[in-house]
Structures are given as structure tokens and as C-alpha cells.
């Protein structure tokens, strides 16, 4: 981030990846990203060679479930909160490219 200023292109790309529309009046977010980026530079002060990252703070492992079927939601409940449904299906007119 530092030494890599957040260009408009990067900002647009980030918004696209986030599926967010940043309105013109919100464009100040770009500067705030840069600010936050500056702030976290402080981590460079710490030596982390040979340090294993902590992805899980309570050190668990092998939490698995048996292959048993449990009750599902009814179709009605599953669809109940959708704006658009059609004959048991969720429906969207959004054209999102994969």
C-alpha cells in the first residue's frame, strides 16, 4: 500500500470485485483507503520471520460431522424472504457475469 498509491484504476477494480457501486459523493473512500493503508505500515516494524500465522485462535482441529441427513427448511420457509420467486425457484434478473 505505501509506495503503491491507490490509483483510480485500482479503486474501480476493487469496487468491481466487491460488487459495490461507489457513488461520486463517496469517492472520498479512496483517500480513506489510502489512510488506512498508511496506518497499517506500522506492522513492518515487527520481525515475523519464522512466525507461524494464527488463523485459529483456539487451536482446534478435526471438527467434523457424521454423514447423517437432517431436516431441511421447507421450500416455503426457504423462499419466504426473497423478493422474487417463481414456482419454487428464486428468481433474479440481475445479469452478473461469472
Amino acid at each position: 500500500m505505501s509506495g503503491n498509491p491507490i490509483t483510480d484504476a485500482v479503486f474501480q477494480h476493487t469496487a468491481k470485485l466487491s460488487r459495490l457501486e461507489i457513488k461520486p459523493e463517496e469517492s472520498y473512500i479512496k483517500d480513506q483507503l489510502a489512510q488506512a493503508a498508511e496506518y497499517v505500515e506500522v506492522l513492518k516494524e515487527l520481525n515475523t520471520d519464522n512466525i507461524i500465522p494464527t488463523y485459529q485462535v483456539n487451536h482446534k482441529s478435526n471438527v467434523l460431522r457424521e454423514d447423517i441427513v437432517e431436516a431441511s427448511l421447507s421450500q416455503e420457509l426457504a423462499l419466504s424472504q426473497a423478493e422474487n420467486t417463481d414456482n419454487g425457484y428464486f428468481k433474479t434478473t440481475a445479469t452478473i457475469k461469472k
Binding site: L17, R19, Y55, Q56, K60, S61, N62, V63, L64, R65, E66, D67, I68, V69, E70, A71, S72, L73, S74, Q75, A78, L79, D86, N87, G88, Y89, F90, K91, T92, T93, A94, T95, I96, K97, K98
Partner: protein, 474 residues
């Protein structure tokens, strides 16, 4: 100009677990009312959390082992972040840095095709495009998938087909999936590029191939297309020009879909909701023990019994069928007996199964029946044997009983045959004359003998007796 195709295959296999990968919903999504097998987890409702299916993980390890992979002692899940309506959470839980299985191989006609990895992930929902809308069914969302990635070691469409057949066979053998390409429980995406002299064409990933023939055709199409394209533009492969093309089976061509997103744009990071999974050497050994003898090993074994490549391959193709063969053989090492059984199983039994659209039932296989039949084979015509074995399989009745009841035993005793032969010779003077001129004309007389004996004469013995009598000038 030397053109060498470089082909890699990415295969997704749907495991036939009862429940889904990260929740307890019924994993069956075939012919099920839409959105009836969903829950907060696989529907991506706010606050829901994934918990991995133990059987699915073990089966992924099992599949990896069957493909000769090493199993990572510790592995973990990661999130692959992208947006698509059928991806409920906006990310797919998959594996990247530490998959369950790595570095395996598959043997195709003596050539080793390297397998990069076999890892665990979840399937997306299904989307159907209707006019300008998309209809979504999340019954398939969260079903366990194993992704098997080969190195680009394949060199032709035929090889690709063989690889897929082999893979399918092994997967079915170990019983973790139906691996049915038409039904979608095995999906394949080839990646193709060419080496033209010392240049490499850009990589192309092909999507939407729905059958084995489709795979072959799509790969061939791409090989041809890339060769032509390179002649025109001489564009070489680099780290950013990989593309994705869709296969159109109707038009028999590929078409550009999109520029492939770089893997970093998926923003992979370790899944914080799922602790890592470890497999000790002992646990891996336990899983290894559950792997049955695989086709390759069986074929080698069968060939030591002097069975042909064809017979051996056919018998080993299906694990139940091969078990039926081995049960019938009952540890015998007699090549003749082996061939006898092979012919019957691969022939009349298989035909009968196809006609009745059934799978072979190992309970119906009785080794002693095969032995009996084998011991009396000289007294039965080959067509009689075929008839008897099918009926015995269907009914469970002793084959010799059937032969007796249906009067199928061939007459071989000299006395009876001589009687018949004498009758035939008397009734067919012209044929006898023909025989004097040409010994091959014995065939007609043998035919008459069969007729007069109502098919019960042993043709070989009958022929010998006719010849003896005729030689004696009678």
C-alpha cells in the same frame, strides 16, 4: 512444423454421501422439487456456519490414495471469493494451499499421467436462464465435490478419453461416486495449448463439455483452431493471456467466454469458520485398507490366468462384475476354467443383464455350479451351455438339473451315434458320393446327423463316427 498438443484435465466428482459437505441437508438433488433440500448453511443465510462432512473428507483421501497421491498430514479449507447468483455465500469453500491429496498418477497404456492434486470443495446451486431472468435452485448448493487436477501430460483427445474412462472406473470401483458424465456427477474441463516447434500457444480452458465424445471433439477442435490461429498471429502463451472458451455441442465449436480471472482475484484466504484437519499415518493406512483391489491390479492377475487383454479388461471394468468372476473362479488357477467362466460371464450373462437392464447379483453366483458345468462341457453343445448358465443364474437351479430336464445332454456314446450315422449315410447317398470326392462335404452329413438326433448329438463325436464309417467303405 511439429505440433504437440498439451492437454490437462480438471475433473469434478460429486461424492455420493447422504448429506451435504457442510450441513446435514440431503445431498440428493436429482428429480427433487427445487429448494426443498436447503438450510441456513447451504442457502447462505446470515449467521450460518459450515461444519465439514467426515465421510466426504475420508472419501476424498480414499480417492487420492486410489490415484497414488500422498496425503497431507494437515490440510485446511479456504474461501474462494466471487459473485454469482448460484453461489449462495458469495464465496465457495474449497482448498488451495493445503489440499487433502497431492502428487498422484494414472497409468494410461503404459504412460504415466501425473495428477497434481485431489481436493475437497462444495458445489454451487443450479441456475436456469429463462428469457432475461435466472431461476435458482439451491438443492445442489453444498454437495461435496472432489476436484482432481492433472498435470498437462495428455497429448491427444484419445488419451484424454482414456484418462477419463480410467478415472471413472477407479472412482466407481471405490464406490465414492456414480461418476456419471451425463448426469453431471462427473464434470470435466480440459485445458489445451500447443507446442509448435519451440513456441507455446496461449492456454485455453474449455467449459460446458457434457459428454466423453464432447471432450474429445472439443479438444480436437481447439487443437485445430489454435494451430490455425498461431499461424495467423504468432501470439505466444504468457502469464496473463489464458482464456476460457465454451463448447457448443450443436455447432461443434468453442467460443470465447471471458478472460480468465487471475487466481489472486479470488482473494483466497483460509476459512476462519473451519479448524484444520489432520490425518495421521495410521488413519491414512486405515482408509487405504478400505480400497479394494483396483482394475489395473485385477487385469494383471487375470492375465496370469492366460486370459486375453479383451477378456481381462471387460471383466475388470466393473468391480461387482470382477467380484462375480472371482467368486465363480473360486481360487482355481486353471486357465481353461478361467476362460470358460470369462466367456460365459462376458457373453450370455452380460447379454441377459443388458436385456433385463439389471446389474449382476453376486448372491446369484454359485461357484460349484460353474465347476459342474465345466466338468460336463464335453456333453453339452456351446449353445446349450449358454442357455443353461443364464437359466441357472436366474433361477438358482443346478445347471445339470436344467440340462437333464431340458434334455440338453448331447449324446456322445458310440453306439447311439453309430445308429444315427448309419441312418444318415443310408438316407443321403448323393451326399456320401460328394464326400468321397471332397472330404469337406462331411459338413452336410454332420448337419443331417444333428437333425436326426434332434440336436442331441455331439457334433464333434458325430463327425468322427461318420468319417470312421465312411472310411470303412460303408
Amino acid at each position: 512444423m511439429t505440433i504437440t498438443p498439451i492437454i490437462g484435465l480438471e475433473v469434478h466428482v460429486e461424492l455420493k454421501t447422504k448429506s451435504k459437505m457442510f450441513c446435514g441437508c440431503d445431498a440428493n438433488h436429482f428429480h427433487v422439487e427445487p429448494n426443498t433440500h436447503t438450510c441456513p448453511v447451504c442457502l447462505g443465510l446470515p449467521g450460518a456456519l459450515p461444519v465439514p462432512n467426515k465421510t466426504a473428507c475420508e472419501w476424498c483421501v480414499k480417492l487420492g490414495l486410489a490415484l497414488g497421491c500422498s496425503i497431507n498430514e494437515e490440510s485446511f479449507f479456504e474461501r474462494k471469493n466471487y459473485f454469482y447468483p448460484d453461489l449462495a455465500k458469495g464465496y465457495q469453500i474449497t482448498q488451495l494451499q493445503k489440499p487433502f491429496a497431492v502428487s498422484g498418477k494414472l497409468n494410461i497404456d503404459g504412460r504415466e499421467i501425473r495428477i497434481n492434486r485431489a481436493h475437497m470443495e462444495e458445489d454451487t446451486g443450479k441456475s436456469v436462464h429463462v428469457d432475461s431472468s435466472t431461476l435458482l435452485d439451491f438443492n445442489r448448493s453444498g454437495v461435496p465435490l472432489v476436484e482432481i487436477v492433472s498435470e498437462p501430460d495428455l497429448q491427444s483427445p484419445e488419451e484424454a478419453k482414456k484418462y477419463l474412462n480410467k478415472l471413472q472406473q477407479i472412482i466407481r470401483y471405490i464406490g465414492v461416486s456414480d461418476a456419471d458424465i451425463e448426469k453431471g456427477s462427473m464434470r470435466c474441463e480440459p485445458t489445451v495449448n500447443l507446442k509448435i516447434d519451440n513456441f507455446y500457444t496461449p492456454l485455453v480452458e474449455i467449459k460446458n463439455v457434457a459428454s466423453l465424445t464432447g471432450v474429445m471433439n472439443a479438444i480436437q477442435y481447439e487443437i485445430d483452431r489454435q494451430a490455425k490461429q498461431f499461424e495467423i498471429d504468432h501470439i505466444e502463451k504468457n502469464s496473463t493471456n489464458k482464456t476460457t472458451r465454451g463448447w457448443d455441442a450443436d455447432k461443434n465449436q468453442t467460443f470465447l467466454q471471458r478472460e480468465k480471472e487471475g487466481s489472486a482475484d479470488y482473494r483466497y484466504f483460509p476459512e476462519p469458520d473451519i479448524p484444520p484437519i489432520t490425518f495421521t499415518k495410521e488413519q491414512v493406512e486405515e482408509i487405504k485398507k478400505t480400497i479394494p483391489e483396483l482394475p489395473d491390479q485385477k487385469i494383471i492377475k487375470y492375465k496370469t490366468l492366460n486370459l486375453s487383454d479383451y477378456d481381462a479388461n471387460l471383466l475388470a471394468d466393473d468391480s461387482v462384475f470382477s467380484s462375480a468372476f472371482e467368486k465363480s473362479l473360486n481360487n482355481s488357477t486353471d486357465p481353461e476354467f478361467a476362460k470358460f467362466i470369462a466367456n460365459l460371464l462376458n457373453g450370455p450373462i452380460r447379454t441377459n443383464l443388458n436385456e433385463t437392464q439389471s446389474e449382476i447379483d453376486i448372491e446369484k453366483i454359485n461357484p460349484s455350479y460353474f465347476q459342474e458345468l465345466f466338468s460336463k462341457k464335453s456333453e453339452l453343445s456351446s449353445s446349450a451351455i449358454k442357455q443353461i448358465v443364464v437359466e441357472s443364474y436366474q433361477t438358482g437351479i443346478d445347471p445339470l438339473e436344467i440340462a437333464k430336464t431340458k434334455n440338453l445332454f448331447q449324446v456322445s456314446d458310440t453306439g447311439t451315434l453309430e445308429e444315427f450315422a448309419k441312418q444318415v449315410i443310408e438316407a443321403n447317398p448323393k451326399a456320401v458320393e460328394d464326400y468321397r470326392k471332397n472330404p469337406l462335404a462331411i459338413g452336410f452329413l454332420v448337419g443331417q446327423l444333428m437333425k436326426i438326433s434332434k440336436g442331441s448329438a455331439n457334433p464333434q463325436s458325430g463327425k468322427e463316427i461318420l468319417e470312421k464309417l465312411l472310411t470303412n467303405g460303408r
